[in-house]
């Protein structure tokens, strides 16, 4: 069962406070391969590993239906820094 981008977005937004969310379907529409950038204040004081574990757990059902799932997790502050760095290079 493929995963719909819109469903995935709704699921994420329902589960945690989202400052910014980018979902990229890298599978040309078959819904098997997603890459997300997720910015949330809920990531404060969590290590990257803890964040990813948490997201993996929240999206367990969806990830089980995919071939590949890639995530970048930022706090709002980290995301500003990430954008600034991207702009300067």
């Amino acid at each position: 069962m493929p995963v719909d981008t819109k469903d995935l977005e709704n699921t994420i937004r329902n589960l945690l406070p989202v400052t910014h969310l980018e979902i990229e379907d890298q599978s040309n529409g078959c819904g098997e391969n997603y890459s997300i950038i997720l910015v949330s204040e809920a990531f404060e004081e969590k290590t990257t590993l803890a964040r990813h574990r948490w997201i993996n757990e929240l999206l367990k059902d969806q990830i089980a239906q995919m071939h590949a799932f890639s995530q970048k997790t930022f706090t709002p502050k980290q995301y500003q820094a990430y954008l600034a760095k991207g702009a300067s290079t």
Binding site: T48, L49, I63
Partner: protein, 154 residues
């Protein structure tokens, strides 16, 4: 060669995570991952200072994410004798078992000194932030470099 206490400690197959949390999870996990399989994986993750569960082999990775991790480790000059890799495509039991064991849904998975570090996204992030180099140095997988080797801006 590694921990001589390992053999005896294999009797205790519960992961070292907080006991209360682990206990509830274990009930669910146990249906899939037998104590025996868990013990074997525990042995595997400590078989070398660095252990990578991947698709394919370092010379012939069979997945882009596994390839990326191999390339990152290569960039840091991780010596072959410190890294042991397991090809999960050759072992369906290991492929599902390691996911349960690590409570991590994807391959590749990297362990350093028996501790789960993460998959491709985490490794890439740690590589970019410099944390990976610190981790590798701290665990004596690569030699410490002096400060002068700060990479020139490209």
């Amino acid at each position: 060669m590694f921990r001589t206490s390992l053999r005896s400690s294999l009797r205790i197959v519960r992961p070292s995570a907080p006991a209360a949390l682990a206990a509830s999870r274990l009930v669910a996990a146990r249906r899939f991952l037998s104590d025996d399989a868990r013990a074997q994986i525990q042995k595997a993750v400590t078989a070398s200072p660095m252990v990578l569960f991947m698709k394919g082999t370092p010379d012939y990775p069979e997945c882009g994410f596994s390839r990326a991790v191999i390339q990152i480790l290569g960039l840091h000059g991780v010596p072959a004798d410190k890294l042991k890799t397991y090809n999960v495509l050759e072992d369906p039991e290991l492929r599902s078992g390691i996911k349960e064991f690590s409570e991590w849904p994807t391959i590749p998975q990297l362990y350093v000194k028996g501790e789960f570090i993460g998959g491709c996204d985490i490794l890439l992030g740690m590589h970019q932030s410099g944390e990976l180099e610190d981790l590798l140095e701290k665990n004596e997988i690569i030699p410490k470099v002096e400060e002068s080797s700060e990479a020139p801006a490209s």
